[in-house]
Symmetry: C2
Subunit: 130 residues, 2 copies
DNA sequence: ATAACTATTGACATTTTGTCTATAGACAAT
DNA sequence: ATTGTCTATAGACAAAATGTCAATAGTTAT
């Protein structure tokens, strides 16, 4: 990936058969909210731990992903009454979100196994002729 | 992934900045050819080890991926003079293909690490409240 | 003739991702 | 008042991996 930390998995019909395809970004956001409720710009910063570069990620795609999650009922939102500065919209995962996230984690785990299978075959051949 | 063994990673601008994006299918095919030269229908069968279901994968997308690899100079092809049955077009990885595959493997490895990071955070929160 | 095997290509469609454009408010510092 | 930081968004355009479906046609063996 010459682009670096951008672009996890991309699109395609195979990626999501239903309306709630396992977008990597949405999965990352749900995991962060699984950890605790949060708001847009904070979530964007926290994506750092999953390889995203906060300085380079476009905030509009974060909100787009959050909007998608909300429309799917996987998160619910409310205005934070306690913030001192600019208004903050808090996002919180729903029980449905938790259930879907659990399924997504399984799928991602399967993705990982498939990568490992590929690596295994590749390394096996590569190391066979040192 | 409700679709099961289909659809590895999908598309998107971030997936490939250049013309040779790291398609999972192309990577799988290159690994198989890294192992030894082969032909279309055999490759399709061999994809089984990476989670693809041979009964369900459409052969046209195999040839499309192979065509892409050939156009990128990552494989070269020649008619097999020895086959008894139908004509076979043998595909063989080029040195350039080897170099690109090596880079793709690194990228896929990075993908795996990112999934692991996600799993780590998810499990940490999940197991914290048993 | 039928089946298995083999070689292809292209059109249509879907979906995640990225870039860019645009708007606007709440506070704090100058 | 101006500027900066922080915060909330939405939408249009574009790219690209993936899947479905349709189509063609040859080589063997049964």
């Amino acid at each position: 990936m010459p682009g670096g930390p951008h672009g996890r998995f991309g699109a395609g019909r195979g990626m999501g058969r239903g309306p709630a395809g396992p977008m990597f970004l949405q999965a990352c956001l749900l995991v962060l909210l699984h950890k605790g409720k949060s708001y847009g710009y904070s979530l964007a910063q926290d994506l750092k731990q999953f390889g995203f570069d906060p300085a380079r990620i476009d905030i509009s795609i974060i909100y787009r992903a959050l909007r998608g999650l909300e429309m799917q009922g996987l998160v619910e939102t409310a205005w934070d009454e306690n913030s001192l500065g600019p208004q903050r919209r808090m996002y919180e995962i729903t029980p449905q979100g938790e259930a879907v996230l659990s399924a997504w984690m399984q799928n991602l785990h399967q993705r990982k196994l498939e990568i490992e299978a590929l690596e295994s075959v590749y390394d096996e051949v590569t190391n066979r002729h040192p």
